[in-house]
Symmetry: C2
Subunit: 178 residues, 2 copies
């Protein structure tokens, strides 16, 4: 095993990839935008809090600061190309609101095809280095029951989408083994 000390930025910071990307959906007036965020995590069980780290360079960042509400959705591997596209173009240049979606109970846009989605109220924004962590409280849940078990976990038959710095993959059928 080799090791090296780090002083500035890392030559590579992807060792913990691939992870499940959360597709962030935001609506501000008539403007709807989506962007995938692989830097996402659960933060609290009670209250249920979920966080996504976004660069201030992202179009979504500014929209979300104003809208104060957002959705995160989780998608099957079959939608890899769409999710990749959403991450490769900016809402400044492309109207991503044309992508099929629906509005949730709180008016936030949810990308079609998700096996699960949360609607969130923005609680806090915390700057950590060159990204801001948007902390949302889950106020509504969407579930595709056929793909989830009784605990809300993706079922073994569901081909999950994982993201890893430009590479997309799916887990094997045997992914869930107790």
């Amino acid at each position: 095993m080799r090791s090296y000390p780090v002083q500035g930025p890392l030559p590579a910071f992807y060792h913990y990839y691939p992870g499940v990307p959360a597709v962030v959906g935001v609506r501000l007036g008539e403007r709807v935008n989506f962007c995938p965020a692989v830097w996402n995590t659960g933060l609290s069980a009670n209250p249920p809090l979920f966080g996504v780290a976004l660069s201030p360079k992202r179009f979504t960042h500014g929209l979300l600061l104003e809208a104060r509400r957002f959705a995160v959705s989780f998608h099957p591997h079959a939608q890899a190309a769409l999710v990749q596209w959403l991450g490769s173009v900016s809402g400044r240049e492309v109207d991503k609101g044309r992508v099929p979606h629906f509005l949730g109970r709180t008016g936030v846009p949810v990308l079609e095809g998700a096996y699960a989605a949360y609607e969130l109220e923005l609680l806090e924004v915390r700057t950590f280095g060159d990204h801001d962590l948007f902390v949302g409280k889950v106020v509504a849940v969407w579930e595709e029951e056929a793909f989830l078990d009784e605990k809300g976990r993706p079922k073994p038959g569901l081909s999950l989408l994982y993201y890893g710095k430009g590479l997309y993959g799916r887990p094997s059928e045997e992914t869930f083994t107790p």
Copy 2:
């Protein structure tokens, strides 16, 4: 798709599982402890910051507040049973320092068998709901070169460990497809 509003805690909050668990290693004096955290995420590229959310109930939580340094390591599927065990017993009852590990450049303990690990300095602790987010700055990297590509990403041949609320799995060989 069914939906429901949420007011208190969620009946299930695992839709975004399974993810790559980060095994947190902490040393305080002679005391060494490890615990896996699936609520983990990159937070910043420059400086390189990584976060893990830990419940104050966890033994590691108190140790880390004092030690101010920690390691996170990422492990292959072959170590699933070990990682599961580390998450199922508390350092209050079991001396996890007996598990094979080594001390990194900054003295933090790294669990043996990882394909990659970071040594971190604790920068901040932020409370979000019932967990605290420990934000660390990466000060050293460990890499098992045979398992990582030139960008530091796990190679397709590496059988990754994913965690999902009591279930452990691995991705298929085809996980990484550009």
